[in-house]
Symmetry: C2
Subunit: 361 residues, 2 copies
């Protein structure tokens, strides 16, 4: 299934964590010569074992260098790579773009060959052993053009993104950092602060937790070490958004402190309505798509049951547009909520019921 | 598939919204005589059309009355039902329990027949047409005993919960309200306040939104009218938790405002670590379960593909313990992340690859 790559020649990947190893796996799978380097020899050997590429050699002449090191180290490593490989275009994959660029400018690096980029991919927990060739599939990969940067350098990084199945999105450095402060860094902290409230909770309270709490706090499982660096590198923008958040929070607290006061309920209602409006703006099926009808199926939590359900749906020719699984507290059953096209709903309910599945009435 | 019900005689359901109609559907499906009442005759007729029961009659003699009206109206309706049906046990399903009870006590109602309860079920958007017989399946249903309340009254409400497939959980009134303030009401506001930040976002920023933002903000799509009542009825407990949240938020903002100051990064790191600890306490597979291995499959976003995948997994005898679907921005592909038992992972990858599926390398 190998497809020809857009990127040719050797690609040097510096840093063998989740992102670097995933870049290596994806490119190697397309036949690209990937030279892996890492401050830790053990990390490189592990990534080589996973099929992410070969050990880098002193005589490598890469056309493209991908720096995939923690945010705090990006500028220093990019500068060293620019100096060591004067013919290569260098990019990085850090979650923040302005701070490393400012450091590089201050250091007087040869920035005409540096293109900052950021694949919007990753998971709560990383490391080379979590690397996947498809980590970037279908994800936006921001590439940051700058005045004076050649089109061919930008295009080479976009070719890298395309080779890895990502969707290149051009944004300038500041616009990128504004965007991720809002859609990634602030949600991380909002979830973290909610999850912190649970540390002193009673078991009884936690036994009532539902999908809502789980969703709100899921990203709070992310790695502190990495996130401190990300947040520190984008601190002013994140702090500004958090100040707006705090102003709204103060409004809610004041309203709840005297909820029968004139205007108090209205303040809460307007806050909630603002939340409705905000969530409706998020693109994607979960955010706003009402094209589908829902079917809820009760599934015993034992081996084969979910596979059997989907197998039978496949036999019935019913396409699942989306789905959501919920596991039940204290019971050995799960609930599968399937989204199907409206005109398939009745047939799906009838056919599944006829086969003995328990469905919403 | 009708099973004998624990509850016998007529059950009167007052309020034909999502919860009332779902109670009616579930009980009717078990052959219980359900008498539906609602301040709106049109709402009752709609619920009858959906199969939730029959219209209530003046000569009904219910053994159990379920009050499923908005929180602000609960106390008044419960008092009226207690007076009108002197032989019936009356329960309600409101999300808050202390405020209605205090109102009832102040009104001098006959509280020896009133048992407050709360099924932890529901969705972002409700109404009778969203009613489902299985809405309560596998969910906790809190029942609140009180000194002086007969065991038989409490047991009757627990029988109702069991008939609807829910799991009865006994908690006193204050403990219930403490718990839902933490696991339901505060997360609702935290998500709402995050979603509000998106109302002024650029489209470019929103195009970078990933699963993290979607998860954090999902419940912000809930109905403001209902939630104002819930939050107002539990205002002091919610405000207290929000004050703790704000204190942590202030710590983070101060640290980000001067992120190179001594201790600033440590403050952010400790906040993030506290979030890790909190999310790990949530019961359920998403919260803490590391028993499973992950397989990521690329699925074309066209009819039948997901069904075909699950059909083939069923044929291969591979059980899916959990899964997560992601739709890709700007691309006609989706990503299905399957959780399987560790010893099934390699076989699943091999077999799916052999059948032509694209899997992580």
């Amino acid at each position: 299934m190998t497809q020809a790559s857009r990127v040719t020649g050797t690609v040097r990947v510096v840093g063998s964590g989740l992102l670097g190893a995933s870049v290596g796996l994806g490119l190697s799978g397309r036949g690209v010569d990937v030279a892996l380097a890492d401050a830790s020899p053990a990390a490189v050997r592990l990534a080589v074992d996973y099929g992410a590429g070969r050990m880098a050699r002193p005589d490598d002449a890469p056309t493209l260098i991908v720096v995939a090191v923690p945010p705090d180290s990006v500028a220093q490593v990019v500068a060293a790579e620019l100096a060591a490989f004067p013919a290569a275009v260098v990019t990085d994959v850090a979650s923040v773009k302005a701070a490393p660029l400012a450091e590089l400018e201050a250091a007087g690096a040869a920035l005409d060959r540096y293109v900052g980029s950021h694949p919007l991919a990753g998971r709560e927990r990383g490391g080379a052993i979590s690397a996947r060739a498809d980590l970037f599939l279908g994800r936006p990969w921001v590439v940051c053009p700058r005045p004076g940067l050649s089109r061919s350098s930008v295009s080479l990084v976009e070719a890298l993104a395309l080779d890895l199945g990502a969707i290149p999105v051009e944004l300038d450095t500041a616009a990128h950092d504004d965007a991720v402060a809002l859609v990634s860094h602030t949600p991380q902290l909002v979830a973290t602060l909610m999850a912190r409230r649970l540390t002193a909770a009673t078991d009884a309270a936690l036994s009532l937790a539902g999908g809502g709490l789980r969703d709100v706090t899921r990203v709070a499982a992310s790695e502190p070490e990495l996130w401190v660096q990300i947040l520190a590198a984008n601190a002013p923008k994140v702090a500004e958004i958090l100040r707006g958040y705090r102003a709204d929070l103060d409004t809610v607290i004041a309203a709840l402190d005297d909820v029968e006061a004139p205007g108090a309920r209205r303040a809460v209602a307007e806050t909630l309505a603002g939340g409705n409006a905000g969530v409706a703006r998020i693109p994607g099926k979960h955010g706003q798509d009402r094209r589908f009808s829902s079917i809820v199926v009760l599934v015993d939590d034992k081996p084969g049951e979910l596979g059997r359900l989907f197998g039978e749906l496949g036999e019935l020719g019913i396409n699942i547009e989306d789905l959501r699984l919920e596991h039940s507290p204290g019971a050995e059953i799960g609930i599968a909520e399937l989204a199907v096209l409206p005109d398939a709903q009745q047939r799906a309910v009838d056919d599944l019921t006829a086969r003995g599945w328990r469905i919403a009435g």
